[in-house]
């Protein structure tokens, strides 16, 4: 199958576009048309097979070790999506060639990213592997980020781009977790396998579904994550038309529709989809009613329609599934037609504000006709595709309308009311769009605008006509819908997309909706006043900024707390952890009796061997405490060395005079060296902890010391085998020596000793060379610097002299 090649073609063409743009100017978009157009043709060629229930598949192995395969599967749902993504995409790309001026900045980049985006979107809807889906999904997030922020000189554009990326890619991550869970409990990462054999009953399944839905909702701009979509209207209009009518936002709907056959029955799937979908429908429609900017009006309309689509796609019944395909295609056609119309108006008049447009309908009758057709489809007027889809949608929630309905009748009734309410709003804002864009308003001065070129208008007109054609000939679309809806149980006669089902309740509701919507538009002044009077609802956009700001504030606080830059604090943290982990474990072991204090095996605890030890211990304790309390550096140093001598005294009392001697030497030497260092430092410690910091320090240090002491005590007392040194005594006698230590050093382990001597000698040589370095290598010194440096040098020289 060709699909992987078509995907690669997108990438290749995208790479070629930037250099081509320099030569071709805006005609580069004609080249950009090629990959999506070819894809659309390819998928149409396969359409008969696909709707007959034989999906086209192919597989490319990407990372077999991690079970990531590029498996593609084109079934009815994918077919519908590809028609939107590639078919509508090709039309929009052609439109771009006329929309942009030759001098436009970054045309090469824009066209390349658009084609990349189209390729990524194609991947999203055609892959059969959860991870490949995620990969393509994030690619669409990144490319849409670049597209929305196309005009990078505008602060507003940059913010909107970042906002959309943070929202869609950010919520893509929980979705990834959901995918991992889903694959783990389902035993496969292949979507078709998972949907065909869902791991129902697994306790983790609801968690996985909630996470996946979070990602889908963010992508499809469901309340309360819808804020990014209106913000993203800063993008060039054709980009908006593509991203928000045909492609990107449909990604979330696609995912819901893709998983619904397997998981719609699992709680809380339906509750979530219905609640969020309905809220989005109503909120979007309500806000669309009061927009002045035509593009924003369409944006909120899109939010509303996306809610509608999510609701339908997630319901998971045969009728709803049929309606999903109908509304999906209808929305793709009419919304892109409307966006492109706005693009034409904006391009010719330089404004999109309802309050500034007047008489456009007379100047551009063809555009007005196309837009009216598309808006009628949006409002659900017969005989357009929008009407066919909406009929099916109403049917899905009518009591008794869907024989296989899985909804409790109460819920179905609530949803039905919601759908009707949102449809009324839709009719209202559709009418308002046509009126606002094309009517001649008495209060607004008419503009003289140039007529758009025929090629420029061709794109919106063709899309609007497509809406009409598909509505009049619903049997062209119906097989696709049936192909998708076949996945759901249907006990009775399957529902078909058609213009006329007879005098059904759904038809009555449709009429009611149209009348109420017309009324809403007729009383638009009153509606506007009501909207003004209502206090503003909590703004989701402000919510986003609030969350981002909160992360900053928390991060700042935590940073200030953790990143003090103070060495004692860092050390304190390490010590505290030491106490918390092994320390706590030791205390627990002691408390539970796992570790008995030594003294059991005839090795009783005794205070001292001679009372002299007590005296020395007292000396050590006193000097230690005094050191901590001392504020001046020099006395503190003296006290520390006194403590060292005390320890040496202990060694003497324990019969190790050689060790004691070494210690005394080391203590003396360090004291002397430190004295020289101290000469260059202030007399007292600059900063000392005070108050609770001091208490905490004392406590922490005391605890750490106690912990080390106790574990040393336990360790030395815990002995299972006699020490190996006992074996040396006889050997020492054999070798003719009395001093065991000497025998070991000079005889038994003489080679080791030799090695140590070499190391010591090397170290000594190194130290000497370091000390002499300043003499031999020193660069000619210039005049002694001012005051303090001179003093320092003097100090340094004296110190050096003493040492050498």
């Amino acid at each position: 199958m060709l699909l992987p090649f078509l995907l690669a073609l997108h990438a290749v063409v995208a790479a070629l576009l930037p250099p081509l743009a320099r030569v071709l100017g805006t005609r580069v978009f004609v080249v950009a048309c090629l990959p999506p157009a070819l894809t659309a043709l390819w998928v149409l060629a396969h359409a008969p097979d696909v709707v007959a229930g034989q999906p086209v598949t192919s597989a490319v192995t990407w990372v077999p070790a991690l079970d990531i395969n590029l498996e593609f599967r084109v079934d009815a749902l994918t077919l519908a999506m590809v028609l939107l993504v590639s078919g509508v995409g090709a039309v929009i790309f052609g439109y771009c060639a006329r929309y942009f001026h030759t001098g436009e900045r970054g045309l090469g980049r824009l066209s390349a990213v658009l084609v990349l985006f189209a390729g990524a979107m194609l991947g999203v809807v055609s892959t059969d592997n959860l991870f490949a889906l995620y990969v393509f999904w994030e690619l669409t997030s990144i490319t849409s980020f670049l597209l929305i922020g196309h005009d990078d000189r505008k602060e507003h554009a940059r913010r909107a781009a970042l906002q959309s990326l943070v929202t869609t890619a950010g919520f893509g991550l929980p979705m990834l977790v959901g995918f991992i869970l889903l694959g783990q409990i389902g035993g496969s990462f292949r979507i078709s396998t998972l949907v065909a054999d869902p791991p129902v009953g697994d306790p983790l399944l609801p968690v996985a579904l909630v996470l996946v839905l979070a990602g889908a909702f963010a992508k499809s701009a469901q309340v309360p994550l819808h804020y990014w979509l209106p913000g993203a209207m800063i993008a060039p209009t054709p980009v908006s038309a593509y991203l928000h009518a045909a492609a990107m936002v449909k990604g979330g709907v696609y995912l819901v529709a893709r998983l619904a056959p397997g998981f719609a029955e699992v709680d809380p799937w339906r509750a979530l989809v219905l609640t969020f979908g309905m809220a989005t429908m109503v909120v979007g429609g309500w806000r669309a009613l009061r927009q002045d900017d035509l593009k924003l009006l369409l944006a909120y309309g899109t939010v509303s329609q996306l809610g509608f689509l999510t609701l339908l796609a997630g319901t998971g019944t045969q009728v709803a599934a049929t309606a999903t395909i109908g509304v999906l295609l209808a929305h793709g056609f009419f919304k892109s037609a409307l966006f492109l119309t706005v693009g034409v108006i904006d391009h010719q008049t330089g404004t999109r504000s309802i309050a500034a447009l007047s008489g456009i309908g007379r100047r551009m009758p063809v555009v007005a006709g196309a837009a009216t057709l598309a808006a009628a489809s949006m409002a659900g007027l017969p005989p357009l595709l929008g009407f066919v889809g909406k009929e099916a949608a109403l049917e899905a929630y009518l009591p008794g309308g869907d024989p296989a309905t899985a909804l409790p009748s109460g819920a179905a009734a609530v949803v039905l009311v919601g759908v009707v309410l949102a449809s009324v709003l839709t009719v209202g804002y559709s009418a308002r769009f046509v009126w606002g864009a094309f009517s001649t308003k008495d209060t607004v001065a008419e503009r003289r605008v140039p007529r758009p070129a025929a090629a420029f208008v061709a794109a919106p007109v063709s899309l609007a006509v497509l809406s009409l054609a598909a509505g009049v000939l619903p049997f062209a679309v119906d097989p696709v819908a049936q192909g998708y809806a076949a996945a759901f149980d249907t006990s009775g006669e399957p529902y078909h997309l058609a213009l006329w089902h007879g005098l059904t309740p759904a038809l009555g509701l449709s009429a009611l909706v149209l009348v109420a919507g017309a009324l809403l538009f007729h009383r638009r002044v009153t509606v506007a006043r009501v909207q003004q009077a209502l206090s503003r609802w909590p703004d989701a956009d402000r919510g986003y900024h609030g969350v981002v700001h909160a992360i900053y504030v928390v991060a700042l606080r935590v940073t200030r707390l953790l990143q003090s830059g103070s060495l004692p604090v860092y050390l304190g943290v390490i010590l505290a952890t030491l106490l918390a982990l092994p320390g706590a474990r030791l205390v627990m072991a002691l408390a539970s009796g796992d570790v008995a204090p030594p003294g059991a095996g005839g090795n009783e605890l005794r205070f001292w061997n001679t009372p002299l030890e007590g005296v020395v211990a007292l000396l050590i304790v006193v000097t230690a405490v005094a050191t901590v309390r001392e504020h001046r550096r020099f006395p503190a140093l003296i006290l520390v060395s006194a403590m060292g001598f005390g320890v040496a005294g202990l060694f003497v009392l324990y019969g190790a005079p050689d060790l004691a001697l070494t210690l005394v030497l080391v203590e003396t030497l360090t004291t002397i060296i430190l004295v020289f260092v101290l000469r260059r430092l202030p007399a007292t410690f600059g900063t000392r902890p005070d108050g609770w910091a001091k208490r905490l320090t004392v406590l922490l240090c005391a605890a750490a010391g106690t912990f080390i002491a106790v574990s040393l005590w336990l360790m030395t007392a815990a002995r299972t085998d006699p020490p190996v040194s006992l074996g040396y005594t006889s050997l020492a006698r054999e070798a003719g020596g009395d001093n065991l230590v000497n025998m070991i050093l000079a005889d038994f382990r003489a080679l080791d000793t030799f090695g140590e001597v070499v190391v010591l000698a090397t170290a000594a040589v190194a130290v000497t060379s370091l000390v002499l370095l300043r003499r031999s290598r020193v660069v000619e010194e210039t005049d002694p610097g001012p005051d303090e440096t001179e003093e320092e040098r003097a100090g340094a020289r004296t110190g050096e002299g003493e040492r050498t």
Partner: protein
Amino acid sequence: MIPLTDSVPAAAIASPVITEEPPSIDYAVLSPMLVVFAAGVVAVLIEAFAPAARRHSIQLGLALASVLGAFVLTVLQVGAMPDAEAGMAPEEVAGVTTAMNSVAIDRPTLFLQGTILVLSFISLLLVAERRSGESAFAAQAATVPGSEEERSHVLAGSRHTEVYPLVLFALLGMLLFPAANDFLTMFVALEVMSLPLYLLCGLARRRRLFSQEAAVKYFLLGAFSSAFFLFGIALVYGYAGSVNFADIHEAIETGGSTLFVGGTATPLLLVGIAMIAVGLLFKVGAVPFHNWKPDVYQGAPTPITALMASGVLVAAFGAMLRVFLMAFGAAVADWRPMLWVVAILTMVLAAVVAVTQRDIKRLLAYSSVVHAGFVLTAVVAATPEGLAGALFYLAAYGFTTIGAFAVITLVRTHENGPEAADISQWAGLGRTSPLLAGALALFLLAFAGIPLTSGFIGKFAVFQAAVAAGATPLVVVGVLASAVTAFFYVRIIVLMYFAEPEGAGPSVIRAGTLTGSVIGLGVAATLLLGVYPTPVLDTLLPQPVEAALEPGMATEDGFTR
């Protein structure tokens, strides 16, 4: 004091063993390390005898040649490893131990050593880079910053070619650290690796006080952690009666020594594990032992930061994996809760703190802490898949991070100025140098784990392993932390491409051949490992034949004993 009496029954006395034969050492297996060590020693001699003018080129040539040679030797050993074929016992496809079982050369070791060698080679290129006669290192580190003496050294063009032997010795430690098969060797490796690094950290040419502060902090905190590590070794020795990993593993399985009443010494083992963990977690920079990382990464000369962020991290995690999966593999239930807590803390706290960072090197330091948390999830998994995922992650992260630091060395506040530390100074880089900004953007996207970069595959591998091992909540935290980190990576990209520069914007030094190739290698590795990771993953994952043959066998985790 130990009573020196003959009254102890002769049978009970463990008589000292008199060794007559030297231990057999398989020099071929150790050859990569020996080559690096020999080069380090020779480099010291060069320092003493070679004329000053030619010292730098000789040192650089020697260092690069030895690293390259060691890499070739490592690759040859990989080729010599027996391939797993059906019907072979797991021992046959495992590696070998040598030098009295103190060093284990098996697949994970060879992969880690190869990775470390490549990363060090790249870092050496960065170390060697000089622009207008200026390297990243101080002219004479012994002078007081800002003094006349310092200036005269700068004017005289003094340079520290000692950097090369120091890097080589540190590299020796890095190579030995993940290969060590007993705790004493591991401790020696730890110190051999760390001591030169402490020094190297203090050698920055600019902002020398920062640099020296970093060195002091790193040294003091590192010394403390090493002490705890050593203390832990003693405790574990008390439990197992051996420092050898295989013996410890066996001791844990059979219950260890009977030190305490009730015939158990488990508390000793647990306290020992915790203290060893302190030492290892400090080296990888996990919360709460991460505090040194931002300060040190910021203060150290950027090429050394690159080396620490890549090679040292790989080595430290390699050692950690060996210790926890192999030596303490049988006590997994005991240490897993602790690492759970550490991993969660690491990912969450570091991600949150990273958001507020304004200094690019500090930011990358915190990002490195977060990444350590991600790898820890694979350690928590404690499965062969987790090991493979962690190894892949480390390699992928190493290349990306070196590339990122290489970019940092090029962006300056103004002509001949210091590196542009504050990220606000990076505004508009995308317009002045689109290629450089594009490379950095790629690295940042890889850090964020965006598909088609190596970061995605790595994250995927570790998270999948963790989920398979039942650590799903950990993965959820990890994914949320990635969301937060993605935010600040993207913020830098937005800043580079979309923000108006303040004043003239950053000044970019033209990338020399060395830095240019470093960045190019980083980009290539990031893309290659992201698009086509299969060859690497296949070598890492345990061969199916092993797992199928004897699921309970010791070499299941891929380590040899």
